[in-house]
């Protein structure tokens, strides 16, 4: 199963191509080495033969046939010329001198040839001889040769060694690539197995790590982290839908009960009108909640920034403060705007207005009645910053991360009006603008800061 997958994998096919190419190159290199060695050895022996022939020819030219015969005799007796082959025949092919029994059959009278002959006393069997023949002026023929059997063996060994090395390399490469591919396929297979298990049974499976901290472990780690993130998100989605269900059921149950009661009562124009009015108001609450949810999703998934312009944060904050002035006045809260006169940012006016309005709304609602809420816009070192500070009870540090979740309500504000969506919207708007949200203890109260990136504005 795994072997079949290994052999069918693309890694293995690539390895085969690499091995093939590599093998071809190694073969060519060895062929070249072999060829150059052989030709070197051959040229050495040819050179020796030609030198010796020249010596003999000189002896003949100087002192005639007898001197030549005598020299050949000397040479045969000389141990250092043991691998040499000599034969001198007259025009009738009778042997005059030499260590061959006769002129080797099939050998030309002139020039190079290779033949097999018994060369006593060196070899009884036929040795491979390379020789050069020459016809002397008196019609005698002289052949000088070398027993090249040893050289032949040498080149054969080189050839054998070369082939053995090439074969060995190919075999090792094949084994190595099967091993590597098998490992790769094994790791991929474990990822695949986990994916299948996740599809079948749920998100709690994780890809096993080998502990080798190699790239496969890193891939597995990243995938596992991605799965963790997905699992967290799924958890949040579930939490959110549970909350939606809860927050929707409450007004829906109210409406249903009201309508059911009215259904069983006799018609009464006045109370019917009140009932219908209340029901419409409750329906509007539900619809507004839907609108908020879809709006947050739309902002969160929006990649386009077509509507982004350079806007003055102070102007927007000013409009928000003006709008909430009446609400602050009702709660006898002092609502102030301070900071730099102009704080440009690149953004969407409506979204920024909505986000700031939500924060100010929270500050007034959850701040201290009779307290104060201060909105400050500044051109900071790192970019524009808008902060909203109140002097109410604040939010405990361990709750800071939770308040941006959809439908999250702090225990302390469970019964104040609101749907727990406001800060989710603020978070979505901030993230669309690349801005960072900071919550700090204002001692007492909450300090909310929205920090825009430095590049924003103009």
């Amino acid at each position: 199963m795994l072997l079949a997958k290994t052999l069918g994998s693309s890694t293995f096919r690539l390895a085969l191509i690499a091995i093939g190419t590599f093998g071809l190159i190694v073969s060519v290199i060895f062929a070249y080495v072999y060829w150059s060695t052989v030709s070197y050895v051959r040229s050495r022996s040819d050179h020796a033969i030609m030198t010796e022939q020249a010596n003999l020819h000189d002896a003949y030219a100087r002192s005639g046939r007898d001197a030549l015969v005598a020299l050949i005799g000397q040479r045969i007796a000389d141990k250092s010329f043991a691998d040499h082959v000599y034969v001198l025949v007259d025009s009738a092919s009778a042997v005059l001198a030499g260590n061959l029994a006769q002129w080797p059959a099939g050998t030309a009278d002139q020039g190079w040839s290779e033949f097999r002959a018994a060369v006593p006393p060196r070899s009884a069997a036929d040795a491979l001889v390379r020789g050069r023949a020459e016809t002397l002026p008196n019609g005698d023929r002289l052949l000088v040769g070398l027993d090249i059997g040893d050289l032949d063996g040498f080149t054969t060994q080189i050839r054998a060694a070369g082939i053995a090395v090439v074969v060995l390399i190919l075999v090792l490469a094949a084994v190595a690539s099967i091993g590597v591919t098998r490992r790769t396929v094994g790791r991929i297979e474990s990822i695949n197995a986990t994916s299948r298990a996740i599809m079948l049974s749920g998100l709690d499976q994780r890809i096993p790590l080998h502990g080798s901290h190699d790239e496969w472990d890193r891939v597995a780690e990243n995938l596992n982290q991605m799965l963790d993130r997905i699992q967290t998100l799924m958890g949040e989605v579930k939490q959110a839908s549970d909350n939606i269900a809860h927050d929707l059921r409450t007004p829906l149950t109210r409406m249903r009960g009201r309508l059911e009661k009215a259904y069983h009562c006799p018609r009464n124009g006045e109370s019917d009108a009140a009932l219908i009015g209340d029901t419409i108001a409750d329906l509007d609450t539900v619809l507004a909640m839907f609108a908020s949810i879809t709006r947050i999703s739309e902002i969160e998934t929006r990649a386009r920034k077509d509507a982004f312009r350079t806007v003055n944060l102070v102007e927007i904050a000013g409009e928000v403060v003006e709008l909430y002035d009446a609400a602050a006045e009702r709660d006898t809260t002092r609502l102030d705007l301070t900071g730099d006169p102009e704080v440009p940012v690149t953004g969407d006016r409506d979204l920024l207005f909505d986000a700031i309005a939500n924060v100010v709304d929270n500050a007034i609602k959850h701040g201290r009645a009779g307290g104060k809420v201060t909105v400050t816009c500044r051109n900071g070192e790192g970019g524009a910053v808008i902060s909203v500070a109140d002097d109410g009870p604040g939010i405990a540090a361990d709750q800071h991360d939770h308040v941006f979740k959809r439908f999250y309500r702090l225990e302390q504000s469970r019964y104040t009006p609101g749907n727990g969506l406001g800060l989710s919207l603020v978070a979505a708007v901030a993230s669309l603008h690349g801005a960072r949200i900071e919550l700090q203890d204002n001692a007492p109260g909450l300090l909310f800061r929205l920090c825009f990136p430095a590049s924003t504005g103009s």
Binding site: G277, S292, R295, R304, A307, Y324, A326, A357, D361
Partner: protein
Amino acid sequence: MTGAHRRILVVEDDPETAGQLVDQLTTSGYDVDLAANGREALNHGAARDYAVITIDRMLPDIDGIAVMRQMRDDGIVVPFLIISALGEVDDRVRGLRAGGDDYLVKPFSFVELLARLEALGRRSETVAKETILRVGDLAVDLISRTASRGGRKIPLLPKEFQLLEYLARNEGRVVSRAMLLQHVWDLHFDPSTNIIDVYVGRVRRKVDDQQAYPLIHTIRGIGYCLRAPG
């Protein structure tokens, strides 16, 4: 509105919604023509003169916005009220840019629709160039941007004045919270809070407190109406 200008073209493909609209608009004294798709809408638009055309954004054949563009290209200047289930800001803005005069997001209350139709219909009539709007003993001076009741000046912040001006311009007509946000604050979304009510509450205290009769009336579930008694 004159008789001829109480004719409205409703472009809506859902038969039940269309039926409800036709019934309620007829009850409210409008003459209503119905087009179930873009092509019918174009035919009606070319054949008759309407006070307002309400158009669904998503039609079975031609996109509502394309229908609007086509009519505008044909020289039809009737105000359009876009009715859309696509509630997102981008869609609204795109609709307005394409020549829509106002928009309404589904689901909407019929009173809200009526309020917007009234406002749009009035816009298509020639608006008298008044410089002082008068409602009962209230005078809203558009030049000096001040308001007074019975000759006594009412101290108003600029936005408060704008709000009162918008109510006065729509004297006797219901103005929804969303319309106030749109025209006074230029906001194309509904903040999920009752902030408008709080704001109007303050304006009302300034305008109506210790006066002979109230001018700003709350219309339950919808918004407000500025009118003198009688």
